[in-house]
Symmetry: C2
Subunit: 173 residues, 2 copies
């Protein structure tokens, strides 16, 4: 009867268990980030965001050529009005973007053309402690764009508006 | 004793009464159009308009160089969503305008600079039956601009957007 190498057996078992564990973790992680949530941050589109108050309109030139509107939930609006920085947990900002088209009825006017992206910043100082307290989500036709695009959010906001809690928009009176 | 010409007396009295009546009407009219209401239309700034929902952002090129946001009260938003034309009585639209400034933090972006005008269109098919059902009000620093400027509103709206109940803005999804 051959001698059983218990050391090898233990190693194989441990490797197997570990592999199963990793696989389970991957499955669990996949379950936690549903298909309609942004990569990296897991941000989903909040209900009723289109009814939120206007923070400010904006434009962006070439190559995007967009016209935009930033809206905020009640926590965001209160923080803006009171000048609260950093923004409190629960703040959500959304930026709606459209192609910047020329009005067919009034030549000097620019108006929204086709919708392009809807983007969100969600403040949660615990969940997003590694990204300045903010989670980002960029959506096209209601679906999140890929991870590569989401990798660009934080660096730009950190580089440009570190003194305004990573938020570009100011309240337009 | 001289004979009293009762016919002349009656005429003088009637003229006097008429003149008093006209003067009273003028005073009453002045009272009905307070200093904070627009000339011609008597539109005043409605409470809470800055909290209304966004209809659409817009821009206007030279010479104004403005960025704008059109907001609407609940009646306006419902009409937009349901495609109701003409807009029902009680609809109020407001256009907030700012100078279109370049962002100091992100070169391709245009953002609101100094506030310029706040304008309103108020639908009342009875009160404003002679102007397509709409009353107009244009305000700078909370005060209505002069009558001459208000004389320009209706003609432009009638010439450009007669098929959209004199309203330029469309709902930006």
């Amino acid at each position: 009867m051959p001698r059983i190498n218990t050391g090898l057996f233990a190693t194989v078992c441990a490797t197997f268990i570990c592999a199963v564990g990793v696989a389970a973790a991957v499955v669990a992680h996949a379950d936690e980030t549903p298909a309609n949530a942004s990569p990296i941050y897991g941000v989903t589109i909040p209900d009723g965001y289109r009814q939120w108050q206007l923070i400010a309109p904006a434009t962006e030139g070439a190559p995007l050529n967009e016209i935009r509107a930033v809206l905020g939930n009640d926590i965001a609006v209160k923080a803006y009005k009171e000048g609260t920085l950093p923004f409190p947990d629960g703040t959500i900002l959304t930026k709606l973007a459209w192609k910047h088209a020329q009005s067919a009825e009034f030549e000097p006017a620019g108006v929204p053309g086709a919708a392009t992206t809807v983007q969100f910043m969600v403040k949660d100082s615990v969940k997003y402690k590694d990204s300045g307290g903010w989670g980002f989500g960029r959506f096209v036709n209601g679906q999140p764009v890929d991870e590569k695009q989401h990798q660009t959010c934080l660096g730009c906001h950190q580089a440009k508006v570190k003194n305004h809690d990573l938020v570009f928009s100011r309240w337009a009176p």
